[in-house]
């Protein structure tokens, strides 16, 4: 039962311009004093004026408040007046973006395989800032002058601005030395918490992920050398899965340890199921690998057969080659990678023509594309035919309902909002990344070139 909350956040949605791809319907009830409440699905933990593991050393902070969801992700930071400073949006354990309510700006986070934020873009897809660091998260350097939407950097954990330490749930981590500030600890008395006696590295309770920071991630500050706790990115998915192996000791208080070797106090899926799933995935990967080898062999035979075929088949082969060449070229842009991934899973078609017809018909879900039609922009720049393919693919992969609305919403510069969305969010970033010219309107003149990637 929730009693008279003084602050209520309902349905944090990021609709409209610059909307985030992942909408988290959060019903968060916070009462001053920071007691625990529940919203029915997510346990919400409010840390007010303290941080776990450093309470005794640092004393009470200024009255900042943090909202965490049931997965332990920090979804909002509030100041002393309980005004929201920023809101983080996650897909699983993966930071997707940050919303700054003061400016109304949405920032997208692009992270590496460990979950470390490397690149940040605004709602319009424009570059804001990027960061570099060494394997242990040390020497973190901002490469640009743009804002840092949230302090979450190394493996997605928050870096404390005052101390430069990374706040993991159980302990603080110092990236300069690659060591924890405190030894690992367990809620129940055990000889050496989270250690495996077959692995001497695990006996050092200050080491970070067994000194293997490029391949492993600690999720909660309880890292163990024997029972290695790592987060691995699933192939083709933004979701992250917790995979545990080996023996474990003691109890887990924050929901990363499961099943046979720990007490799951978070209500998450037991480890046994995860292990089964991981095994199934592994088997599936092996099968896929075998299937791919077989497919490659068949392709080789098919290629041989095609070489003996007539001109019609050669033309078809050429068309496929053009599409492949364009896709290969576009894959050099993260934005276009996203577009192509969505396109491939959406039952779309590509129809080749030689009439300068680059268009997308949503009724037939068909992209019409001329692989020899390059574009001269109104500012005198040039774009390849491949960019035309990417442009029309991007039209197909947007939200269909939003597409219908945006297509009939006038825009003084781009004609309508749908064109604005595609040009600003996908075409221009890709053009910059691939050394082509961006556009600031929906105009241009087409001209013939010899190949899909020629300008």
């Amino acid at each position: 039962m929730i009693s008279a909350p003084s602050l209520v956040f309902e349905n944090w949605e990021f609709a409209g311009h610059g909307s985030l791809p992942f909408v988290r319907p959060a019903f968060v009830y916070l009462r001053r004093g920071g007691s625990l409440d529940r919203d029915g699905r997510h346990a919400v933990r409010v840390q007010r004026g303290r941080r776990a593991g450093l309470e005794g050393q640092r004393g009470r902070r200024a009255a900042d408040a943090y909202l965490h969801d049931g997965d332990g992700n920090q979804i909002a930071e509030l100041n002393a007046a309980l005004v929201v400073q920023h809101v983080n949006v996650y897909s699983g354990k993966h930071l997707v973006g940050t919303w700054n309510p003061a400016s109304g700006t949405v920032y997208y986070a692009y992270s590496d395989w460990l979950g470390t934020k490397r690149y940040e873009a605004d709602g319009g897809g424009n570059y804001v800032n990027s960061w570099a660091s060494l394997p242990f998260g040390d020497n973190q350097t901002a490469l640009g002058a743009g804002v840092d939407a949230t302090e979450h950097h190394f493996t997605g954990q928050e870096r404390d601005a005052e101390s430069g330490l990374d706040h993991f749930a159980a302990r603080y981590y110092q990236s300069q030395t690659g060591r924890w500030l405190l030894p690992d600890w367990s809620a129940t008395p055990v000889p050496v918490p989270y250690a495996a006696f077959t692995n001497p590295q695990s006996l050092n309770l200050y080491t970070y992920v067994g000194n293997n920071p490029v391949n492993a991630v600690d999720v909660d500050g309880h890292v163990e050398g024997g029972g290695v706790s790592t987060y691995t990115a699933q192939q083709g998915s933004a979701l992250w899965q917790c995979v545990h192996t080996g023996p474990a000791f003691g109890a887990d208080t924050d929901g990363c340890d499961f099943g046979a070797w720990g007490v799951d106090d978070s209500g998450l899926q037991p480890q046994a199921e995860d292990a089964t799933q991981a095994a199934q995935d592994q088997t599936a990967d092996q099968k896929n690998s075998d299937a791919k080898a077989e497919q490659a062999e068949q392709q080789g035979q098919a290629q041989q057969q095609r070489q003996n075929a007539g001109p019609a088949q050669s033309a078809a082969q050429q068309q496929n080659g053009d599409i492949q060449a364009a896709r290969q070229y576009l894959s050099g842009s993260p934005e276009m990678q996203t577009v192509m991934k969505a396109f491939d899973s959406g039952h779309f078609h590509i129809k080749i023509n030689h009439d300068n017809d680059d268009s997308y018909n949503p009724r037939t879900r068909t992209v019409n594309w001329d692989p020899h039609s390059a574009l001269r922009t109104t500012t005198g720049g040039h774009q390849t035919p491949a960019m035309g393919l990417g442009h029309e693919m991007a039209h197909g992969t947007g939200n269909r309902h939003q597409f219908a609305i945006d297509k009939i919403t006038p825009d003084s510069r781009y004609g309508n909002k749908e064109e604005r969305r595609v040009i600003r969010n996908y075409e221009n970033p890709a053009a910059r990344e691939l050394g082509e010219s961006p556009r600031y309107n929906h105009n241009g003149t087409t001209y013939h070139v010899d190949c899909p990637t020629c300008q």
């Binding site: 129809k351 023509n353 009439d355 300068n356 017809d357 680059d358 268009s359 997308y360 018909n361 949503p362 009724r363 019409n368 574009l375 035309g388 442009h391 029309e392 039209h395 597409f403 219908a404 297509k407 009939i408 006038p410 004609g415 309508n416 749908e418 064109e419 595609v422 309107n441 929906h442 105009n443 241009g444 003149t445 087409t446």
Partner: protein
Amino acid sequence: MKRMLKLTFVALMLQLAYSQSAMKDELASFENSLREDAISSIVVLRMPDDVTTRIDVTPQVLRKGLSSTRKYKIEMNQVRSKLLIRWIQQTTFTRTKRSPDLRWGLLFVDHNGKEIASIFSDRFGQVGNVDGHNIEFSNTHLIDTIHELVGSQVH
């Protein structure tokens, strides 16, 4: 210096007035053709509103036709003439530098099969092209008029 600026301003105003009057003359001529039953048929070019393109659709592109472009021919009659005359009388036309993304095209053909006028419009009926000039319409009645001309079977 001031004199030069004044002269330039006057020249620009004269040019604008001339272009507006030229537009009026063209439309007056087109209206006369309608009144005199000089128009035999209308060719309607249509690019569906929901089809996206890499660049704005120009009159040339719409005439040439893309894979999604549809083309209809309707015979002219008294009712259709009156509809067009009413629209011309209700509407004022201003030249614009805006480049419209055209979705409708009306090509007016005389009894000898010769095209004597053309009107193009974007999907909103706000901006278009009349006889090669980009223009802004004072209202969006053209879309309604087109629908009345071609009937409900053309979307």
